[in-house]
Amino acid sequence: MRSAERAAAEAARLAAARAKRAARAGAYDALFAPWTLSAAGFLVSIAFLFQPVLGLKALLFAAFLAAALASGKKVSLAATVFVSLGIVAANLLVPVGKVLWRLGPVLVTETALWDGVGKAVTFEGLVYVSKATIRPGLRLPGRFGSIVARAFVYYDRIIEYRGRLKPATLFEDADALMLAVWDDAEAPEAPPPEARPPRGALGYVLAAIAVAASYAALAAGILGR
């Protein structure tokens, strides 16, 4: 009984977290147009990539993490820590620079350690800036964009497909899935851009500030080296 109560409480907690994330995503999408965000994300990620000072890079990383949280995207700090530790550990396997400590057979060397930390911050920072600036509503232009959009329509059909995929009849079931998704009389056209009210100036201003701040940090990093 207690375990059932605990499971129900856990389910309620997860549902509440999902609802909070959805509310944040709604507010975020009301503020920023997808193209403004992706353009800003592209520019900011370049400034971040070339930032030479680890402290400034870490500050930008924190800002990207906050933006990803504000955007309503799912953020796993445990995964970030795990991946970062993996990158740092891999870099420590090849000793470079002054020996700081010995952890059993592994030498912790200064250059290898900071290289690893820098690479981990860059790796995860780019993940978060992407999470914050690439929105599902983004529509790519041109013929290529229309094929991607058509693929998303098919993707929706696959998700909505209500058949089974059983191991014993995997090939027949997979074939049935392909036929069912394809066998509509209408080939899916690329959906029209979502009709959303135009965003106010605040979103554009915030995006411009983010880009300007990242390039100011880049300039400070280069000049201060």
């Binding site: 992706s38 992407s130 058509r150 693929a151 098919y154 209500r162 997979a174």
Partner: protein, 203 residues
């Protein structure tokens, strides 16, 4: 997708216009199918398989099993080279948009791995013809994809330590490539959809 409910029988809709009738002919194999349509459908399956792969725990985000390359393997016989490369790009861009990783190293690994795998599979298919099986094509593509990702990992993430993960990563490519190849071989031999998409069936 619901994997636990029985599949309802789906009544085909009647074509309502000459254009729709034309598309229906394509779908029943009376004329060769629209390449853009096949590309979009296979791209959608790349997204779907990628979403499944996303749920499988892995030590690093770019260390993938490569099951999302299955539609590309199937496309090697269905699409001419330009459309085949468009499919590879649709896969990378679409997956990056879905996962929100377009500006990250993950997208870079995906782009390099997918394009190299696609080109190697295409070349193997064209050079080998009937002498090379889907398993061979798939293994070559998977190993090439993983090899280029190890090179990238060395350059941007791991440094010299990348050589330590290389054997595991390349071995993984060998195994998953062989499994995907076996699946593709059986699927292409038995699939009614594949026969239609390749214009070989009037059914």
């Amino acid at each position: 997708m619901m994997l636990s409910t029985p599949a309802p029988t789906k009544a085909p809709k009647a074509p309502e216009s000459p254009e729709a009738a034309g598309r229906a002919e394509v779908r029943t194999g009376l004329v060769r199918p629209d390449k853009a349509d096949v590309t979009a459908l296979l791209g959608a399956f790349c997204f779907f398989l990628s979403a499944i792969e996303y749920m499988i725990p892995k030590p690093l985000p770019f260390m993938r099993l490569g099951i999302a390359n299955l539609p590309i393997l199937l496309a090697a016989d269905l699409l001419p080279l330009p459309w085949f490369l468009v499919l590879a790009l649709v896969k990378v861009v679409g997956m990056s948009v879905i996962s929100g990783s377009l500006f990250s190293y993950i997208a870079l690994f995906s782009l390099a791995g997918t394009l190299v795998a696609a080109l190697v599979m295409w070349a193997a298919k064209r050079a080998g013809g009937r002498r090379i099986s889907a398993v061979g094509v798939s293994v070559l593509g998977a190993v090439a994809s993983n090899a280029v990702q190890v090179v990238l990992a060395r350059a941007v993430v791991f440094g010299d330590a990348a050589r330590l993960i290389a054997p595991v990563f390349l071995g993984m490519g060998l195994v998953t490539g062989a499994l995907l190849g076996l699946f593709a071989e059986r699927f292409t031999a038995t699939s009614a959809w594949y026969a239609r998409a390749s214009g070989r069936s009037g059914a």
